[in-house]
């Protein structure tokens, strides 16, 4: 009996016009008793409260890190806080949302009318930025889980030559630009997709990212914090902001005995040695440099913008909506045979192609604008970096470059002035130079 019943129903089903919404093809059952429908389990996500707890923890660790780095000046305590950050923001929170990734949420919110930035995510980006403006890169030292993971594996740091350091230092800016671009056009979150450490925090993830994480951690044993220095897009922002900070890690100052111990202790190449005395150049050189800046940078921006604009169609392939629109158009015009998964899915939703094409046209426009700006930005960064090589500063003592310093506090242990100050003695150059 039940067979024939089903057969009839199947026939009825076959006669249905569409399949987009299959519900109610079979009549609801008529139970002879008071049947209790099983409960559909709908486990919720972590509640909003936790998102705010994370913000509080972020603010707390930022504050504590600032105090430890600038006031307490103790490597051990900074290290302990780093361990905490690794455990909390890394393993417990399993990575998301992190201030590095939050850059993209901000960009998406600016670019898209559909996405409203949640306050907690906005704070995750803005709090570290504010702290960087005031206190330098304290976030990097002992709050960032990515930095913390790398901090743990530094074993025998090699000194990267400064020219290479500077050259590779362009990458984070390019990465930042590309990530902001893709987020702004609403296509992709580049930073998250290629976050090398989040798979490690979750001990799960795509194989290529797990391998990338392992390789970077391996490299991190002899090149300190490779991600922070040569990739991190938030680090790029900090590179600009930290030099403006009012307070950041400083050593000896006028008492500096130029003993080189701090620079030896720094695994991140952030301490610059004193320059030779006769570096004072005549004002004419300064003027020449200024002239070069005024020519080279606009030129680099223009070149970049042109190249960026030209690459717009290449970048456009990353947009699923744009490619779908092109595909649907080609199919309907008979330019290509058959359908693909994406276009099948689109037809199944029963929408007219016109809307899709209009949406795609808007995306194309955004890609054109965005890629031009991106190209200009990259041109500017490269132009500036070229000039920065020629800009020289005179230093009479060892100075910490706030752009590069991640406030790890290692130098506090090796600087004789610091050690003496901690011991309650004042040190004069004569005293320490034996």
């Amino acid at each position: 009996m039940s067979r024939s019943f089903v057969a009839v129903i199947v026939l009825a089903a076959l006669l249905l016009p569409g399949l987009a919404l299959a519900a109610e093809r079979f009549p609801p059952p008529e139970f002879s008793f008071d049947y209790q429908f099983p409960r559909v389990r709908v486990p919720g996500p972590r509640t909003e409260l936790f998102a705010w707890i994370d913000v509080v923890v972020l603010l707390g660790t930022l504050g504590l890190a600032t105090w430890l780095v600038l006031k307490k000046r103790s490597r051990l305590e900074i290290f302990l806080l780093t361990v905490f950050a690794l455990l909390y923001f890394g393993f417990y929170r399993a990575g998301c949302v992190c201030p590095i990734g939050a850059i993209q949420n901000v960009a998406l919110a600016i670019g898209s009318a559909d996405y409203v930035l949640p306050v907690t995510i906005g704070l995750f980006f803005l709090l570290p930025v504010g702290f960087a403006l005031l206190f330098g890169r304290v976030f990097c030292s002992s709050v960032c889980p990515l930095g913390a993971a790398q901090e743990m594996v530094v074993l025998r740091p090699l000194r990267v030559p400064l020219w290479l350091e500077r050259g590779l230092g362009v990458i984070p800016f390019v990465y930042l630009g590309v990530a902001v671009f893709f987020a702004w056009v609403g296509t992709d979150f580049f930073i998250c997709r290629y976050d090398p450490y989040v798979s490690f925090f979750r001990l799960d993830g795509p194989a290529h990212m797990l391998i990338a994480g392992a390789v970077l951690l391996g490299i991190g044993t002899f090149i300190g914090r490779p991600y922070c220095r040569f990739l991190c897009p938030l680090g790029a922002i900090f590179r600009v902001l930290a030099p403006l900070s009012r307070w950041h890690v400083r050593l000896g100052g006028d008492h500096c005995v130029t003993c080189h111990l701090c620079a030896d202790a720094c695994p991140y190449n952030a301490i610059r040695p004193p320059t030779e005395a006769e570096r004072t150049r005549p004002p004419s050189t300064g003027r020449a440099t200024l002239g070069a800046i005024m020519i080279v940078i606009p030129l680099a921006i223009a070149m970049g913008a042109l190249l960026g604009n030209a690459s717009s169609s290449l970048l456009l392939r990353a947009s699923p909506t744009a490619t779908l629109s092109a595909r649907v158009y080609a199919e309907q015009e008979g330019i290509v045979e058959g359908t693909i998964e994406q276009s099948e899915a689109f037809y199944a939703q029963g929408q007219a192609a016109g809307g899709l094409h209009r949406e795609a046209a808007e995306i194309v426009r955004r890609f054109e604008v965005g890629s031009t700006v991106l190209g200009g930005f990259i041109g500017m960064v490269i132009g500036w970096q070229l000039l920065a090589v020629s800009l020289r500063r005179t230093r009479t003592t060892y100075e910490i470059d706030p752009a590069a310093c991640v406030s790890c506090g290692r130098c506090y242990r090796s600087c004789p002035i610091e050690v003496a100050r901690k011991a309650g003695r004042t040190v004069t150059p004569v005293e320490t130079s034996e």
Binding site: D34, V119, V198, S245, R317, S325, A326, I335, A353
Partner: protein, 291 residues
């Protein structure tokens, strides 16, 4: 020395100014976000009406097994004896033996309720989110078996790895407080909307459709409704746009596997051409190999 001092002063002034500007900007941004941002953040969910059961949910998630699992929206279920989500199409008999069952991990429980009704439950720890049962139920059945992101498992990645690979663009950000997109809830909403707009257009009562909230008994189950095509099914007939010149050169790489069973009705051709002029431009832009 005096020159040096002046230089330092100038630099200090610039730095101080830039810092002040930056701080004001940051504070302003915090204020703007606090005023304009949403208090509630979002989580990922997949829209079952867009889902095409491609199988990516099982493999693309950063978790293994995936955070996506089959959810049985029971109030929509027909309680069929021969469930298309449960049984394989080509089967020698109707026994619940492995070769007869669709689910590769035996994650669907089939319990006898009363003749001719069987209830189907998901054994979630076993489910891998492959969507094979969802496909069967959607093609021939009521579509009560759907995939959903399970938020007790989901890490809520800033960018969902499955969303990035979903060919149907079925993944959306939903408010944290309403983290599921169940068909029954959607139908109920739609019904309420129709009641409001339709002004007493007689709607046949559906079963209570909010499954998660409270277990319901079959109120209004007496209507063995004709399979109806709800308004959701009506294709949006857009006005035919202006003709577009044909694009120059486009590829002929047909990636559609054209699976083993083509569902009845699905063979209907894509909606008649309705491209906007931009699409031509676009396909030229994207070039040959990208499609």
């Amino acid at each position: 020395m005096a020159d040096d001092d002046r230089k330092l002063d100038r630099r200090k002034l610039l730095v101080d100014g830039a810092r002040a500007l930056g701080l004001v900007a940051t504070a302003g941004a915090i204020g703007t976000v606090a005023a304009a941002g949403t208090r509630e953040d979002t989580v990922w969910q997949l829209d079952p009406d867009k889902c095409i059961q491609c199988g990516n949910c099982a493999t693309a998630c950063v978790l293994t097994p995936s955070a996506v699992k089959c959810v049985h929206d029971v109030t929509l279920c027909g309680y069929c004896d021969l469930c298309f989500g449960y049984f394989a199409e080509q089967r020698p008999g109707d026994e619940e033996t492995a070769e007869n069952v669709r689910c590769p991990t035996d994650a669907i429980l089939r319990n006898f309720v009363e003749d001719p009704y069987y209830e189907y439950l998901i054994d979630e720890p076993k489910c891998i989110g492959c969507a094979i049962c969802v496909e069967g139920c959607g093609q021939y059945g009521n579509g009560s078996l759907i995939l959903q992101v399970r938020h007790d498992r989901c890490k809520n990645c800033n960018e969902c790895a499955i969303a990035a690979q979903c060919p149907a663009q079925a993944y959306v950000r939903v408010p944290r407080s309403q983290p599921y997109l169940l068909r029954s809830a959607r139908l109920q909403e739609q019904e309420e909307l129709e009641d409001e707009l339709g002004g007493g257009a007689p709607q046949e009562p559906r079963r209570p459709a909010q499954p998660g909230a409270q277990p319901t008994d079959g109120v209004g189950a007496g209507q063995p409704g004709v399979p109806e095509s709800g308004p959701l099914e009506i294709p949006a007939d857009a006005p035919p746009p202006t003709g577009a010149p044909p694009p120059s050169n486009l590829p002929v790489d047909d990636l559609s596997g054209g699976g083993l069973q083509s569902p009845p009705g699905a063979s209907s051709a894509p909606p008649a051409a309705a491209p906007a002029g931009d699409a031509d431009n676009l396909s030229t832009l994207l070039g040959v190999d990208s499609l």
